[in-house]
């Protein structure tokens, strides 16, 4: 029997799973760096988070009687990104609740991968920071990384908290770049994040527009409001978000102009929240708000087809 189907008859090798695998590979430098900066517990958090996200994905699909999608690895990416945006002191049960919120509530209840309007990891982090503020607002770091003699974890202030409260002295620029300071486990090491980001750029998994406009808008905002631009760029969730969150396929626009608008909007909101709100960090809220605007941005920036004539307004 001959198989009959409509053209095209050949397909590119790229699959959803391979795209997710590239993102996971891009996160490996961050995971390694965080293990050096925060100890084995950081590695454990990444592992538990990825495993529990996959578990919730598999269970949710089964309960909802939908096609099993845990194999597409998108839950692993969500789990890793959620862990990356939590402190090493985060209790395991809080992490599990976070993954439940990300996968079951934000992702699967809206239809699963592709239909979730908000970034699951970002939204779950916001839910945790509002619901379990006490549990996730202690930031520790290995003592040797912040020039102390203790080899264990020591509690320390994050650079953005220092900027906000201005009590302690900031880490050196080199330490900010390497990530040797307190913060969320996947956010501190700018060098590791850059390695992952460049990997995603050269392999064509993401393009430059959203990260570029997001980072540069934030920088310009800080410059205009007289803040320390370098500290703001090198600390907090900015760089992690630039390469892994404002580039999320599902929850950001697909047009180049749309990506730029998204990045500028998220950058402006980040600046406003960091400088004028009572919170030290504003990246998560900025991204969530822009996620909500994404369908509209997509429509505003849809180009006219080649040779097309604009429809008359009716």
């Amino acid at each position: 029997m001959l198989r009959v189907s409509a053209s095209p008859h050949i397909r590119d090798k790229v699959t959803t799973r391979s795209v997710m695998l590239y993102v996971i590979i891009a996160l490996v430098p961050v995971i390694i760096a965080s293990t050096f900066i925060f100890g084995w517990r950081a590695l454990m958090l990444f592992g538990i988070s990825a495993a529990s996200a996959s578990f919730f994905e598999a269970i949710a699909r089964r309960v909802m009687k939908r096609k099993q999608t845990v194999g597409d690895l998108s839950a692993v990416v969500t789990g890793l990104l959620l862990a990356a945006s939590l402190p090493v002191d985060c209790p395991i049960w809080v992490l599990l609740i976070g993954n439940f919120v990300a996968i079951v509530v934000v992702k699967q209840m809206f239809g699963g991968l592709g239909d979730n309007f908000a970034n699951p990891a970002v939204t779950a982090r916001i839910v945790l920071s509002v619901s379990f503020t006490a549990q996730i607002s202690t930031f520790s770091v290995l003592g040797k990384c912040v020039g102390e003699t203790a080899t264990d974890l020591v509690s320390s202030a994050t650079p953005l908290a220092i900027v906000k409260q201005g009590q302690e002295s900031l880490p050196s620029t080199l330490d900010l770049f390497l990530g040797r300071h307190a913060g969320c486990i996947g956010e501190t090491s700018v060098i590791a994040l850059l390695i992952g980001g460049i990997f995603l750029l050269v392999t064509g998994i993401i393009d430059i527009w959203a990260p570029l406009s997001f980072i540069s808008t934030t920088a310009l905002f800080m410059l205009a409001t007289g803040q320390d631009v370098l500290v703001h760029l090198l600390s907090g969730a900015l760089i992690l978000a630039a390469f892994f969150m404002v580039t999320d396929y599902v929850t950001t626009p697909t047009t180049i102009l749309g990506k730029i608008i998204f990045g500028v909007g998220a950058g402006l909101l980040t600046g406003l929240l960091r400088v004028y709100s009572s919170m030290p960090e504003g990246v998560s809220f900025a991204i969530l708000l822009m996620n909500i605007l994404t369908p509209h941005i997509e429509r505003w920036t849809t180009p006219l087809t080649v040779g097309g004539v604009k429809h008359a307004k009716s």
């Binding site: 409509a6 053209s7 050949i10 959803t16 064509g204 180009p303 087809t305 080649v306």
Partner: protein
């Protein structure tokens, strides 16, 4: 190095798989029978003028054209008509089929004579009597294309030698083996149709063909026959799509729903023009076709000259047979070709390849949810949003499909090719186009009644 990080692509780059590019076109003969459909073109075909038991020679007409768009169909072997019957074509439409049992002599008809061409009208008439349709795969009647509606001034003849579909290498071989006639055919067409400029577009993965065309163009210029420019374009898909090629050659944009003639251009496939040169010299109508036979199941892939109407089965057998079970047979390229249901289907005028795929090559991927990655949008040469069109088509949302200009889709298949979720995008967009056409027709009918 492609700068992927800019996300600017408007094309795709599938592996070109042109392993047959170096293999000369080999004539295959000794076919026992041919089955020739009388409709192998865009527009109505022919009505049979032969009957069971009639003797025909190569080049004898088998049918008379049904309309002004129709071109005649000719016998491709000499022998006796075994049957004339109605049958379903591989594209689902109906047509009369004439089956001729070959007498093995390949006698050429006495009626074949060099056409007398003195002006545009006699040129167009000659082209029509040759039975020629666009040989690049579209089967659009050439005499209609070369005779644009009055008031449209055409200043450029673009010769399409892009051959951007993977696997196919017949245009490439025609250029290498007959470069002088390719140029002569283009110049004759330009001369009789009063077109000033002739530009050949060819991709840079066909170096030998491009060099041969350039040499031939130089010779033609030296001998005072006329000017032909050869433009080498970067290899990507779909360079050879009419609207894309025009834009690459002279930057013009064909309006949505319009024709190349609207921007002063006529595009003709290089093999079509080469055939015109042949026909003007000999008067032998279109009875043979040049095809690439390739695919994982084919024992000895190559380029072959075969009589129109010979069955795929017999062509494969004479070309060396199969080395694996055929699970999918494609007429044309893998991006836009038609999968046929039966190995006994005949070779048509506009076939330029037969691809025989193995089980592994024929696997239909299972689709998953759209992840809105934008790859289809970046791949679309028409700047459409395939994922949104796909969604609207699945929802029967004709208003949304109209709003998003679905009819401007050229069905190149790039969106489906790149989709990581393996969604059947262009396949659903085709349905969307049909929905919009049906809705428009219904609206017209309603408007007429009111």
């Amino acid at each position: 190095m492609k700068m992927k990080w800019l996300g600017l692509s408007r094309a795709i780059h599938p592996a070109d798989r042109k392993g047959t590019a170096g293999l000369a076109i080999k004539p295959l003969s000794g076919f026992s029978r041919v089955t020739i459909p009388l409709d192998m073109q865009v527009g109505p075909g022919c009505e049979a003028i032969v009957a069971k038991g009639d003797h025909v020679d190569i080049g004898d007409p088998l049918g008379k054209p049904l309309g002004s768009w129709s071109v005649p169909v000719h016998a491709s072997v000499s022998g006796v008509v075994e049957s004339v019957r109605e049958q379903i074509l591989s594209d689902g439409s109906h047509a009369q089929y004439v089956t001729i049992i070959s007498d093995g002599k390949d006698t050429v008809s006495d009626h074949i004579q060099k056409p007398v061409v003195t002006d545009h009208a006699s040129f167009i008439e000659a082209i029509r009597s040759s039975g020629l349709v666009g040989l690049g795969g579209a089967a659009f009647p050439t005499h209609i294309k070369l005779n644009p509606p009055p008031g449209k001034k055409v200043d450029t003849l673009i010769v399409n030698a892009a051959e951007c579909e993977p696997y196919i290498t017949t245009d490439n071989r025609i250029c290498i083996e007959n470069a002088d006639d390719c140029i002569a055919g283009a110049l004759a067409t330009a001369q009789w149709c009063n077109i000033d400029n002739v530009v050949i577009g060819i991709e840079d993965n066909k170096k030998d063909a491009a060099a041969a065309l350039k040499e031939a163009a130089k010779r033609a210029k030296r001998e005072g026959q006329g000017n032909v420019e050869v433009k080498v374009l970067p290899t990507s898909y779909p360079t050879g799509a009419e609207k894309v090629l025009i834009n690459l050659i002279n930057g013009r944009i064909v309006p949505e729903g319009g024709l190349p003639a609207d921007v002063g251009v006529i595009v003709q496939n290089v093999t079509t023009l080469w055939f015109i040169a042949q026909y003007l010299k000999t008067g032998m109508p279109l009875v043979k076709k040049w095809i690439t036979l390739d695919g994982g199941a084919v024992k000895t892939p190559g380029n072959f000259e075969v009589p129109i109407g010979s069955t795929i089965e017999e062509v494969i057998e004479k070309a060396g047979g199969l080395k694996a079970e055929a699970r999918k047979i494609i007429m044309g390229g893998p991006m836009m070709g038609v999968a046929v249901d039966d190995i006994t289907r005949p070779i048509l005028k506009h076939n330029n390849a037969i691809l025989v795929f193995t089980e592994e090559e024929a696997i239909l991927p299972e689709e998953s949810a759209c992840i809105q990655c934008g790859r289809c949008f970046r791949a679309c040469p028409m700047k459409l949003m395939p994922a949104a069109l796909d969604k609207a088509a699945r929802a029967n949302n004709t208003a949304e499909l109209e709003e998003r200009h679905v009819l401007n889709c050229i069905e190149c298949g790039s969106c489906t090719y790149v989709c990581p979720a393996k969604r059947y995008l262009v396949q659903n967009i085709r349905i969307g186009k049909a929905l919009v056409r049906a809705a428009r027709a219904a609206a017209r009918e309603k408007g007429g009644k009111d």
